[in-house]
């Protein structure tokens, strides 16, 4: 029970300290939160403002190929699922209505497809103009619309040129053959209108990584490593700061007084170590929850996450106790342990978690520090690994316990 009384007393004192609270929760959340808030909202996905688009599709079918309507194809393309987060498309039936919508700011951009759109695409030497009108203060939305229209027009222009070239250079090609070329071209054009996941050539396709696309928005995959790096870095910082309570009690005379009570040194130091681990467990648990709830980070399967969390807590607490055991006073401890935690944190990779293509030698340097092992375990958990996440968790815990043993040995020698 005495262990718990010591732990509760230390917790009460630590949680009243603005310094501990700042390093425990505020700074790591800010470190991850600032880039998140700079580029991202609190919703899932890329949060570019949705552009309100009105389309006035005045296109009329051509007599030679009545089933093909290029205007409908372009409209369908603008309404593609892939653009749903960027464009909110509505249709109007006249150019006047489209222009009025932009003027009255009920729409950001208007696309006006002329009546001879399909005809111009099927006739040699045909000319057509698709009009895009937008609020001059906007840049990103109109650019997206312009790109989609350009892609569409480029595809048709290329195919039309091919048909014209074939007509000019194939001797005796009659109008029926040319019409056949145009018909197959029309079929192809209808196909690309169904999905933006086609290149202009149906044989060439692109495919994004389903993992990134389906489970984690891009910003979240960036924020996740940053948040993890800050979590690990500040956990070691808080471990060192919390363990300073031993030095502070030494300076205040209360540690010597505790040693004069009928309470064993093992009990006293265990109570203090337990307080450090509880503070760290609170910190790690809260930061993982904040990362998940506010930034949408998926940390992985709960089993390796819990084990790596425990590994982190033990490693940070043990490392903190060992560091302060070599310090004479709190002033020295704040400077030196702070420096050591920063250096080992950097060497362990806590500051470079979002950097790609780091030299492979850096990975070896990472593993010379407890922070490196903790990061390895968490990253493996985020990738969905189990065994490869549990082994680093075990190594982290062993490092922490070894550090703790060294620290307790050193502290015990102080009063002999």
């Amino acid at each position: 029970m005495k262990i718990l009384y010591i732990t509760l007393k230390d917790l009460r004192r630590a949680l009243r300290s603005p310094l501990v609270l700042a390093f425990m929760l505020v700074l790591p959340s800010l470190q991850a939160g600032l880039p998140y808030l700079a580029f991202h909202g609190f919703s899932q996905g890329l949060n570019v403002q949705v552009t309100r688009l009105v389309v006035a599709n005045l296109d009329q079918p051509v007599a030679e190929y009545p089933d093909f309507q290029a205007g409908i194809l372009l409209t369908t393309m603008l309404q593609d699922d892939g653009l749903r987060n960027l464009l909110e498309v509505s249709n109007v039936d006249s150019e006047f209505a489209a222009r009025l919508a932009v003027d009255e700011r009920t729409a950001d951009v208007a696309v006006i497809i002329p009546a001879d759109f399909s005809a111009a695409l099927f006739r040699t030497g045909g000319r057509v103009t698709v009009t895009i009108i937008h609020d001059p203060a906007l840049t990103l939305g109109p650019a997206i619309v312009r790109d989609v229209v350009n892609n569409f027009m480029d595809g048709f222009a290329g195919a039309l040129m091919a048909a014209d070239v074939a007509s000019a250079y194939i001797p005796g090609m009659d109008e029926a053959t040319r019409l056949g070329v145009m018909q197959s071209y029309g079929d192809w054009a209808q196909t690309i209108g169904k999905s933006l996941s086609h290149s202009v050539h149906p044989g060439i396709r692109y495919e994004a990584s389903p993992r990134v696309e389906e489970s984690q928005p891009v910003m979240v995959t960036l924020i996740g490593p940053i948040m993890l790096g800050m979590l690990v870095f500040f956990a070691f910082f808080v471990g060192a700061i919390s363990a300073q309570s031993i030095l502070r009690e030494d300076e205040q005379g209360t540690l010597a007084r505790l040693y004069k009570t009928p309470t064993s040194r093992f009990t006293i130091l265990s109570g203090k170590f337990l307080a450090v681990t509880v503070i760290l467990a609170l910190q790690v648990g809260l930061l993982l929850a904040i990362g998940s709830a506010f930034f949408g980070i998926s940390w992985g399967n709960w089993i390796p996450v819990v084990f790596n969390g425990l590994g982190l807590v033990i490693a940070a607490a043990g490392f903190g106790v060992m560091l302060i055991a070599f310090m004479r006073n709190t002033r020295q401890a704040f400077l030196i342990t702070g420096g050591v935690v920063i250096l080992t944190g950097m060497a362990g990779g806590t500051m470079t978690t979002s950097f790609a293509n780091l030299p492979s030698a850096f990975e070896i340097v990472n593993l010379l520090t407890p922070q490196g092992w903790v990061l390895r375990g968490f990253f493996a958990a985020m990738r969905g690994g189990m065994l490869e996440a549990l082994v680093p968790a075990l190594v982290s815990a062993l490092i922490g316990l070894t550090c703790l043993a060294v620290g307790i040995y050193k502290l015990n020698r102080r009063f002999n």
Binding site: Y5, K9, R13, L258, K260, T261
Partner: protein, 314 residues
């Protein structure tokens, strides 16, 4: 060693490398008495207390505290004694009440017994009205009283006080000295260390004088004063202090010793009435004016000077 013995030291030593902090001291404190360890700073008093309260292990020797060995049964010793450290050792970010509850737990108190003792101690140290204020907001005297109260929580029969009045105002000092006497009236044995001769004289049934880690004398106040055979002390303030004049005074038959401290020259003499005319006459001849003078009855300061050749505050 009898049932009436509270503390019995047996050739206690403490060394730090080449430095010997405590050099084979031996003394006995009887139950129910106030026993003072008197000596200047660095005499080894605090080291002795640290060993008796089982904070430091002796290099050699042993001590029995309330019948338990500090070497072989430190846990039992700690349970039996209350220790008031020299520096205020309280949690200044906790209230007096929270401090007492925590320290009570450390002495194994719980539940109603603890609650009752906390109330009693708060009353004893006159902090009941401020019990929920942070101790860091207390005056120095209040912190000292709380510091003492913590040592009394578990109702120990022996309280060890290590210079509890250092650095506090006279009013708080008076309260503490009265508190020690009251404690002793209730049957508690007190081992009290100080470098204030007046405190030792006022409080103690018996006194041991330490210097350089050694015990140089012990006994009652009267017994110690007998060591110097009733010497009086003459304190003089002089307009100047020529070495030849002080040397001449040392040569006088009635003068036992001459020392100089803080601008005051002190002479230990057997018969002040016989010496004074000679002292004044020689001062006049040396063109030295005596600007003030007082004569003190034999006291512990004089004993210490007699035994060590220096003042207690040196």
């Amino acid at each position: 060693m009898t049932e009436q013995t509270a503390i019995h030291l047996q050739n206690l030593h403490k060394r730090y490398g080449e430095l010997t902090a405590v050099h084979g001291i031996e003394f006995t404190v009887r139950r129910g008495e106030i026993f003072s360890l008197l000596g200047p700073n660095g005499a080894g008093k605090t080291t002795t207390i640290a060993m008796l309260s089982c904070l430091l292990a002796p290099t050699s020797g042993d001590a029995l505290v309330m019948g338990q060995s500090i070497v072989h049964a430190p846990h039992a010793v700690k349970q039996a004694i209350g220790v008031v450290p020299q520096e205020v050792a309280i949690y200044d970010d906790l209230s007096a009440h929270q401090n007492l509850v925590f320290w009570g737990h450390m002495y194994g108190l719980n539940g109603r017994h603890l609650a009752r003792r906390v109330d009693e101690v708060l009353d004893l140290v006159a902090l009941t009205n401020r019990q929920h204020d942070r101790a860091g907001h207390y005056s120095g005297g209040m912190q000292r009283r709380l510091n003492i109260g913590i040592a009394l929580l578990h109702e120990p029969q022996l309280v060890i006080m290590d210079e509890p009045t250092v650095g506090i105002d006279p009013q708080s000092r008076r309260k503490i000295l009265d508190g020690v006497k009251e404690l002793n009236r209730r049957g508690v044995t007190v081992l009290y260390t100080t470098h204030y001769m007046e405190e030792a004289q006022e409080l103690s049934h018996r006194i041991a004088i330490m210097d350089h880690g050694k015990l140089i004398a012990q006994g009652t106040n009267n017994e110690l004063i007998q060591i110097i055979g009733g010497l009086h002390r003459i304190n003089l303030t002089l307009s100047q202090k020529p070495a030849s004049l002080l040397e001449m005074w040392r040569m006088l038959a009635s003068v036992h010793s001459v020392s100089e401290e803080d601008g005051t020259v002190s002479l230990l003499v057997k018969n002040s009435a016989q010496v004074l005319p000679t002292v004044f006459e020689s001062a006049t001849r040396a063109d030295v004016r005596v600007t003030s003078m007082d004569i003190q009855e034999p006291d512990l300061e004089a004993v210490f000077m007699h035994l060590t050749g220096k003042a207690l505050r040196d």
